[in-house]
């Protein structure tokens, strides 16, 4: 699925173990294995040269057993007669006690496959011994006189058609459309944020109206900026959840219409997973502990056994929500975002005001801190005990210390050294600084991105959808629903399974 066009297919018959007596088979097989090995090496060298000459990536390589016990047939045809003949010979082995011969042969081939699989993207093997023989074929089978095995080497070079995905994000107060390719190249990533007046938050209905108004112009500019036409697009991705219902619906509706107009498949994407994958491709972090902090989510996540597992999370409101709501208390501007304005103000603060510190095991809680600071802020400001800057500073220090603590605990649990911060709050430089200190103390590295990728965007949806699409996953139109609740660990990260396989081979 990652590539569609077979440009060069080279087949080499690497043969032959011929023996008329099972007693001499072992040395014959040894010799045969040596021949196969050198043939594979030779073929790989040729392929590497062709690959670099044509500038085509090396995609696949397979070993296929064509051995059937006959000395004549190396045919690949599905002709019934040929098949029957093959069947008889195979049965001949089995019935006349030569079954171990087949097994031995397979063991060698299996070994070769294991050895070479680390160097190639995919391979296939047709197994002899596992094929089922119908019982009526047993009658009158002669003992084989000689054995002939051959191996076919196939090498694929793929002309990689650049897979392109278009992604729609609209789970909160940003509507965004992005176009990306599978290698993570971002072709365009425009977005528009619904900014409410100071002191006010964004409500589902008004936010949906905002998205409604901006989604089509954004789509136009995303296509124009990426310089692509609908024909170039391979799949249409949208945020399935989690998020606010009404805003989520906007992306879903547009994608359903476009899918029918352009005849392109749909891929539903989990918003949280999209943040993680975007963070990984942008920073190059391979297998970090992920701290996902935004206005709607606060989770400490690590990948294990096919899923992004949540090790710790908020038990009430998200850290971004706590910051945003405190910004309303101070009547800070929501432009570009309340969190950004708190961060700027906090730089001027120097007096630390003690706030509740609420870590419960692996989890955190922010609502009590918010209530406390909301109640005391007015009082303290009135009595000139502190400045708004001091409050911002103290709130940030407290909240971020809690986040660093649970992240560190997750790192100890799953024995990982690196941390990746994603989500809107992730572009806070103070949080990054605190996390960096913790990581360096543990001998790890901090990976973080700036506001282009941290904050909700269309490219992250497109990229994550494309990862799933490349593994053959799509969402039928009738199932292209949206959902307010959609946990990170509900998604089977099939594309990561492939990475595991590759790294295990190395």
């Amino acid at each position: 699925m990652t590539s569609v066009l077979v440009v060069v297919a080279m087949f080499a018959e690497v043969t032959s173990a011929v023996a008329c007596d099972s007693m001499v088979l072992l040395p014959v097989f040894r010799y045969w294995e040596f021949v196969v090995r050198s043939k594979i090496e030779g073929t790989m060298r040729v392929v590497a040269r062709i690959s670099s000459l044509l500038d085509l990536p090396f995609h696949g390589f397979f070993i296929r057993l064509e051995g059937d016990g006959t000395s004549t047939s190396t045919s690949t045809s599905n002709n019934k007669e040929t098949y029957k003949k093959k069947l008889h010979h195979r049965l001949g082995f089995a019935i006349h006690g030569y079954f171990p011969v087949v097994c031995l042969f397979e063991v060698i081939v299996q070994r070769l496959i294991e050895e070479y699989s680390s160097r190639v993207a995919s391979f296939s093997c047709r197994s002899l011994a596992t094929e089922i023989v119908p019982p009526d074929a047993v009658v009158g089978v002669p003992a084989p006189r000689c054995f002939h095995f051959s191996v076919f080497l196939g090498v694929f070079l793929m002309a990689k058609k650049r897979l392109i995905a278009l992604g729609f994000e609209g789970s909160a107060n940003k509507i965004a459309v992005g176009a990306v390719t599978l290698d993570g190249c971002i072709l365009s990533n425009p977005r528009h944020t619904y900014i409410t007046p100071p002191g006010q938050g964004f409500l589902p209905r008004e936010t949906a109206q905002h998205h409604l108004h901006h989604v089509l112009p954004l789509l136009k500019s995303a296509l124009a900026e990426a310089n692509i036409t609908p024909e170039d697009i391979d799949c249409l991705c949208y945020t399935k959840g989690p998020g606010m219902g009404a805003p989520l619906q906007i992306s879903a509706i547009v994608i359903r219409i476009l899918s029918q107009l352009w005849k392109k498949p749909i891929v539903g994407v989990n918003h949280c997973v999209a943040h993680i994958e975007m963070g990984r491709i942008v920073t190059g972090a391979d297998d970090p502990v992920v701290l996902y902090v935004s206005g709607g989510n606060t989770q400490v996540i690590a990948y294990s056994e096919g899923r992004y597992r949540i090790f710790g999370e908020t038990i009430d409101i998200a850290v971004g929500n706590c910051l945003d709501r405190f910004a309303r208390v101070l009547n800070l501007s929501n432009d570009p975002s309340p969190g950004y304005n708190i961060e700027q103000l906090a730089k001027k603060g120097d007096k630390f005001i003690e706030l509740p510190y609420v870590v419960k095991g692996m989890d955190v809680s922010f609502s009590g801190i918010l209530s406390y600071i909301e109640a005391t802020a007015e009082e303290k400001l009135k009595n000139n005990e502190c400045t708004p800057a001091d409050l911002c500073y103290s709130l940030q220090e407290t909240l971020f210390a809690m986040l660093v603590e649970i992240t560190e605990r997750a790192m100890a649990h799953c024995d990982k050294k690196d941390v990746l911060i994603v989500g809107g709050v992730g572009c806070n430089e103070r949080l990054q600084e605190m996390m960096r200190v913790m990581c360096s103390e543990r001998g790890g590295k901090l990976f973080a991105t700036d506001d282009r990728y941290c904050i909700d965007n269309g490219a992250m949806i497109a990229y994550t959808g494309l990862l799933a699409y490349a593994q053959g996953q799509t969402t039928p139109l009738e199932e292209s629903t949206f959902t307010q609740r959609f946990r990170t660990d509900e998604v089977l990260a099939v594309w990561r399974g492939k990475e595991d396989f590759k790294s295990n081979g190395n």
Binding site: L212, K220, A246, Q249, R256, L258, Q260, S480
Partner: protein, 99 residues
């Protein structure tokens, strides 16, 4: 797009007292089906309070709402018209000559 009729009847003895019909003439079976398919995916959020039935014929999309209270009817109808407009606009702008 033309909205032809929206009539609200009250006073009937059944539970689903509040009804409303919407008829949109796309003058194209294909377009009407496209909009139908896109909007049919999302079910009504409170099926015990609002029912929505949709059908397509002769290039027209017919939508029928039934609700137990006027406010549910209003909310459902208004939200539906928003997404219907969005779907129609998307076809208008990206459907190259379909409409």
């Amino acid at each position: 797009m033309a909205t032809l009729a929206a009539d609200v009847t009250t006073g009937a003895p059944t539970k689903w007292d509040f009804r409303c019909n919407l008829e949109v003439d796309y003058a194209s079976e294909e377009v009407a089906h496209m909009v139908y398919a896109a909007l049919a995916v999302d079910k009504e959020l409170q099926p015990d309070k609002v029912k929505r039935h949709m059908s397509v014929s002769n290039g027209k999309l017919y939508v029928n709402f039934e609700a137990v209270e006027a406010r549910f009817l209003r909310a459902s109808y208004s939200a539906f018209v928003d997404v219907l407009t969005l779907a129609t606009k998307t076809i208008e702008e990206f459907g190259q000559g379909l409409m």
